[in-house]
């Protein structure tokens, strides 16, 4: 018997809870031929900005124990080119499209981006990437964050997602201009993730995505240089999973809106950890690089797990941690 895998994120209905994470799935067409894209719950684009961004100099990645560091720097062609050249692919695909957006300098850009996306019928939801650790060297994140929270840069930390007030203010501004499902993506580089999640919920986000990468650094001791050209980057992969599961669990206990959980999911078991901790949907990131068909196999794996435990609906697993 078929089990119900379908979940709701805001107004969006996903046929299953398996999503592919921003920045790890390109614009989906790269993965054509490796899996059946139609099987996915939703696809999140690489983060887009108002203007094209060339990104950081190489080396941009470095492998670490059970993970990797990246400092891509949000390289993307800008929203206009995306809409012109990539969007039609999704129209034909029929899988909910989530557009991830960010701004380099000015929170007003988030608003402008959201306004433009609001008019695009192909787009199911907007994900606010307020947690990318890789855009500081180019445009000081602190300036952006300062504008968002209305104080001097010195008083602010670097990412919007590191400050509850800044998060609240930004989500609220964007909420005003779009009726599309709004997902706010949080950073694990914080003392208490639930403060930020609560702020985003209060400001009207429909869902929380967590986590983005954990800030990290790796050194080549022979050369006595950082492995990444820009010194620090974002850690992803199985190495961050226990931390990410813990953050989902903590957040789940405090908020009412759905959580899209991610961080080091590489198979069905690790996806289930997030669901049981409280995630309504899960997002596959780095694992797409290792096995481009993994997301589809996780969908099948979840189905099998529900059958095995005679669970009718995936919802009854969400936050079903036995205490």
């Amino acid at each position: 018997m078929k089990r119900n895998l379908s979940v709701r994120i805001g107004k969006l209905v996903l046929k299953n809870p398996v999503v592919v994470a921003s920045g790890t799935f390109g614009y989906a067409e790269e993965f054509r031929g490796f899996l059946n894209l139609k099987k996915l719950g939703a696809i999140v684009t690489k983060t887009l900005t108002l203007r094209p961004r060339q990104g950081n100099p190489p080396p941009r990645t470095c492998e670490t124990p059970s993970g990797m560091l990246n400092s891509i720097g949000l390289e993307n062609p800008g929203i206009e080119v995306f809409v012109k050249e990539k969007l039609s692919f999704f129209k034909r695909l029929g899988v909910p499209l989530v557009m991830s957006i960010a701004s380099e300098e000015d929170p007003a850009e988030f608003v402008e981006l959201a306004q433009r996306i609001d008019a695009l019928r192909e787009v199911g939801a907007i994900e606010l990437n307020i947690s990318c650790p890789n855009i500081r060297p180019q445009a000081s994140g602190s300036r952006l964050q300062a504008k968002a929270c209305g104080v001097q840069p010195a008083a602010c930390s670097s990412l919007i997602a590191q400050d509850a007030h800044a998060t609240h203010s930004l989500v609220k501004k964007v909420r005003r201009v779009t009726t599309k499902t709004l997902i706010t993506k949080l950073s694990p580089n914080v003392t208490d993730i639930t403060d930020i999640a609560l702020a985003a919920e209060d400001a009207g986000t429909d869902a929380i995505a967590l986590v983005n990468t954990l800030s990290g650094m790796c050194i080549d001791v022979e050369k006595r240089r950082a492995a990444l050209a820009v010194t620090t980057g974002g850690l992803s992969g199985p190495a961050i999973r226990p931390m990410a599961v813990r953050m989902v669990w903590e957040t789940y206990q405090k908020i009412r809106i759905p959580i899209i959980g991610m961080g080091g999911i590489i198979d069905t078991q690790s996806a289930l950890e997030f669901i049981i901790a409280g995630a309504t949907a899960v997002s596959i990131g780095t694992a797409n690089f290792v096995d481009p068909a993994i997301s589809q196999r996780i969908v099948e794996g979840l189905q099998a797990y529900l059958l095995r435990y005679k669970i009718k609906d995936v919802h009854s697993l969400v936050g079903a941690l036995l205490l």
């Binding site: 920045g23 790890t24 799935f25 390109g26 790269e30 993965f31 031929g33 490796f34 690489k46 060339q54 990104g55 100099p57 190489p58 080396p59 941009r60 990645t61 470095c62 492998e63 124990p65 059970s66 993970g67 990797m68 990246n70 891509i72 390289e75 080549d220 022979e222 050369k223 006595r224 240089r225 050209a229 992969g237 199985p238 590489i266 780095t286 797409n288 690089f289 290792v290 096995d291 481009p292 068909a293």
Partner: protein
């Protein structure tokens, strides 16, 4: 179109020192591969290492459906690969990337020059083999191959190149084989006009160069190509994660901005590349 599949390992053996050659069975990949393309190989079933390892396609046998790779053990990933037994299977993705462009080569009257530094012989041998067969028999080209290495221990495939009709010249830094010096010095001697005053380019200068090797070597070839007005195609490396163009990790700076080594590359025209100070070079 690249595929992900399990390929049977027909052979995996040390050829000398820390160099290994494997033969894998995949009719699909063998029949679609072109010189300069690569495979992205999952070497471990666990998460350390987590990412795949890119290795050039060293040659194919389309009839038998075989693919060859040639690699050096330099770290954990290649170490694990070297321990795989024949009879086992490897999870591979390929053929990936944009290989050498051979379109402008035919019809030609002279044979192209291949310059390999160390492991650079891996993709260039596939190229030499392909040129040796030609699109048609009468168009077979026998490349002139220059191979460089620190010592004779780093010189690979000399006989293989010879057996497909190539003329091989060798350069070693320590002079333990062939010319003592850089392989690019050998190349420059070949390109330099016989009479420097006349400024008439040597006949070699109309011949395309294909090269693969360490960055400094490729950079020097790029310089020579511009001085002598020759076209050169370079196969570049950069740290790679996905190998299919999604992560934007393996970029190199070009005149038109960053381009992906795994997608637009690994082969680029020399004049496209913007050479910058290598972040990996240098030391304390």
């Amino acid at each position: 179109m690249a595929r992900q599949l399990n390929a049977k390992i027909l052979e995996n053996a040390r050829i000398k020192g820390s160099y290994f050659r494997s033969v894998l069975l995949s009719r699909q990949i063998a029949s679609h591969s072109r010189p300069g393309q690569f495979l992205n190989i999952k070497v471990s079933s666990g998460t350390h290492p987590l990412l795949r390892r890119p290795l050039s396609i060293h040659g194919v046998d389309k009839k038998k459906g075989e693919i060859r790779i040639l690699y050096e053990v330099v770290g954990r990933g290649s170490e694990i690969l070297s321990q795989q037994k024949s009879g086992g299977v490897l999870d591979i993705i390929g053929p990936l990337g944009h290989g050498f462009d051979l379109r402008n080569l035919y019809p030609v009257t002279r044979n192209p020059i291949l310059v390999a530094g160390g492991m650079g012989v891996a993709p260039l041998f596939f190229l030499a083999e392909t040129l040796g067969q030609g699109p048609r028999k009468r168009h077979a080209l026998h490349a002139r191959v220059l191979i460089g290495g620190r010592t004779k221990e780093q010189i690979l495939c000399e006989n293989e190149f010879k057996s497909c009709g190539c003329r091989v010249e060798i350069a070693t830094d320590d002079g333990s084989r062939g010319f003592k010096g850089k392989v690019t010095e050998l190349l420059e001697r070949m390109l330099r006009p016989p009479n420097p005053v006349s400024r008439i380019p040597s006949p070699e200068s109309r011949i395309p160069i294909y090269a693969c090797g360490p960055r400094p070597m490729l950079r020097e070839i790029s310089r020579l190509a511009s001085v002598y007005h020759i076209s050169a195609q370079l196969s570049l490396e950069e740290h790679m994660s996905c190998g299919i163009g999604a992560c934007l990790g393996c970029v190199v700076k070009t005149r038109t901005g960053y381009q992906r080594v795994c997608k637009e590359g690994p082969v680029f025209n020399a004049e496209e590349i913007v050479w910058e100070k290598s972040f990996r070079k240098g030391g304390p």
